[in-house]
């Protein structure tokens, strides 16, 4: 996959902002959490500075028209693009949201069903069956037979012990 210099720099800069925030907090006079935090944050920020400089230098050479390619750059036409990667992240967050709202059992079924219905053509019954087996049977086995406590969801109670619990998770 082609590692875009702009995306890499953006990630590096975001990471640097986070590290500088940690370093700033750790260096305040009233911070009692120990000086090791500042030491590690400073070391990490220093290493990241070197990474940013290298990525920036490479990006500058590309803008100048040099045919230079980053040492780790590969070209792979079959690799997912930016849109697919962002969608995958959205689906993962969606899974969490569905489980949070509807509970583990219903949330997993809805997640698998949603993904397969949108991205898998062919026999819809196979998708529904998989959603029920993977999304439903596994939680039932773990929760019902092994007695593990599964999250019931913040919606009002629909199926006691399984769907709906009515209490938000304390943060």
């Amino acid at each position: 996959m082609r590692v875009g210099s702009k995306a890499a720099l953006t990630f590096d800069v975001t990471l640097m902002a986070l590290l500088l925030g940690i370093l700033g907090s750790a260096m305040k006079p009233d911070f009692d959490g120990g000086h090791l935090v500042a030491l590690v944050a400073a070391f990490t920020a220093g290493s990241l500075t070197w990474v940013i400089l290298k990525d920036y230098l490479w990006a500058s050479r590309r803008r100048a028209g040099a045919p230079a390619r980053a040492p780790s750059e590969e070209v792979d036409a079959s690799a997912p693009g930016l849109k697919e990667r962002w969608l995958a992240v959205v689906y993962t967050v969606l899974m969490f949201a569905l489980v949070y709202v509807f509970g583990t059992l219903a949330g997993c079924i809805l997640f698998v069903g949603a993904f397969l219905s949108l991205h898998k053509r062919g026999n819809p019954w196979l998708g529904i069956a998989l959603a029920l087996v993977v999304g439903g049977l596994f939680p039932y086995v773990l929760g019902g037979m092994l007695g593990l406590r599964l999250w019931e969801g913040v919606i009002p109670v629909i199926v006691p012990g399984w769907i709906g619990g009515g209490v938000p998770a304390p943060l």
């Binding site: 890499a8 997912p80 969490f96 997640f111």
Partner: protein, 511 residues
Amino acid sequence: MEIFAAFGGGLAQLLSPPILLALFGGTLFGWIFGILPGLGPLNAMAIALPLSFWWHPITGMYFFAGIMGAASQGGAITSILLNMPGTAQNAATMFDGHPLARQGRAGWALGIAAGTSVYGACFGILVLIVLIPVFLPILLAFGPAEKFWLMIFGLMAMTLAVQADMAKSFVAVGLGVLLTFVGLGGPEFPVERFTFGSTYLLDGLNLVAVLVGLLVVSESIAYLAQGIKGGGNGVRLVSSGAEGHIFRKELGEALRGLLVPFRYPACVVRSSLIGTAIGAVPGVGGVVAQFLSYDAARAASRHPEQFGQGSPEGLIAAESAVNAKEGGTLLPTLLFGIPGNAETALLLGAWQIYGIQAGPYFLERHADLAWALILGLFFSNILGSVLTVLTVGATSWVPRLDIRYLAPSILVLVALSLVALRGTVLDLGLGVLAGMLGFALQRFRYPVIGTVIGFVLGGAVEQNFYTALQSSRGSYQVFIGSPISLSLFLATFMVPALIFFSRFRRRFRGE
């Protein structure tokens, strides 16, 4: 010595049904995950980790040892049958395994792989048992300052070993260590650090949720992306044309293959030695061991021209190394509490769940757990070989699963594991966040394993740092006060400096 006195007890444990069940279960679980390309022992252990909370520690160790011992055998199956490594460390197995399958000798190749796995694993375990009493007296001289430098040296060795930019490796490790600072902590009375007023974060970031997120959720996001790109048609891990006509049930050939390694004893011993030695170096994985061993076998072979065409020697070299390395990776883990690879990093996670402290005193205090791992590894390799040989006719279909069924299924398993961990959905949220971080790190070529190992070791690094300072009443001289700590201090800085200088000189010369 206490560790060997516990050996009899360790063997007796194997007669108990729950232990046998854990060993069989772990072996089967790891073997199946090894067959599925892209997954492996790491994913299997990460998914099982939260569930192990409810098990007795000994049972847990047998289960994890089962996974570790059998996963590479599962990976060898897809490497041989379908020219696709089931796990990354089975890559070199393809070179000679698949040509043998194309020649109609798939069963024979699987038998060679199964047999070699057992012999390689036995070698690695034997070396481990022999070296334990050699190292144990040295370990007792380790105080907090020595342990601090040992862990820092281990982290350094890992950053040098991974195939990534050195600066990015440092960043990844630093991030992992920083994550351990969230929650209550500090040099004296514990204070809140980076909790933002949240009671959930007071206990710190949950170890299992972060590890599962970084390792499994990130990989699942990548699979989801691949599945989305595939469009309406089948997206299989293995391209179509799985050659059914090549593969036929060859149980007899597989059994004959089990004896082939005895014709190449030098190859088995050399490759096992390389695998064990490489495995003992923290952060260096089975991939390196396998390729080094393969190259060495080709150089020493009387028929190097056969390598890559279906040479049994090539197959033996690859499989011996990757299975011998398991014994090697346990060496720094059991002796020093430093994970030899990502799997043993998860093992340390399991110990933390059980409230067991890793480190130089582990063998003295928990010899039974150590034997559970060693014996579990030994027997799981044997069981894995039996599984491989007996299922010679039935294993070809698994890697052809559509990735769009596989990816959401794995995420569901992860969701179940994390939600069941402490009964709170917030652990799943943390896992998802860690997964997004891991996915981003992978995307921009930061080694995620650095973050994992930094996170596993970070708490102990901090604890030993402040304990050493307290013992010296604030004097930093304690960190170079003893011969061991001074040696480790020098090694930590000189080794990367030498390597960096050597790379810089090569680049300057245009090599």
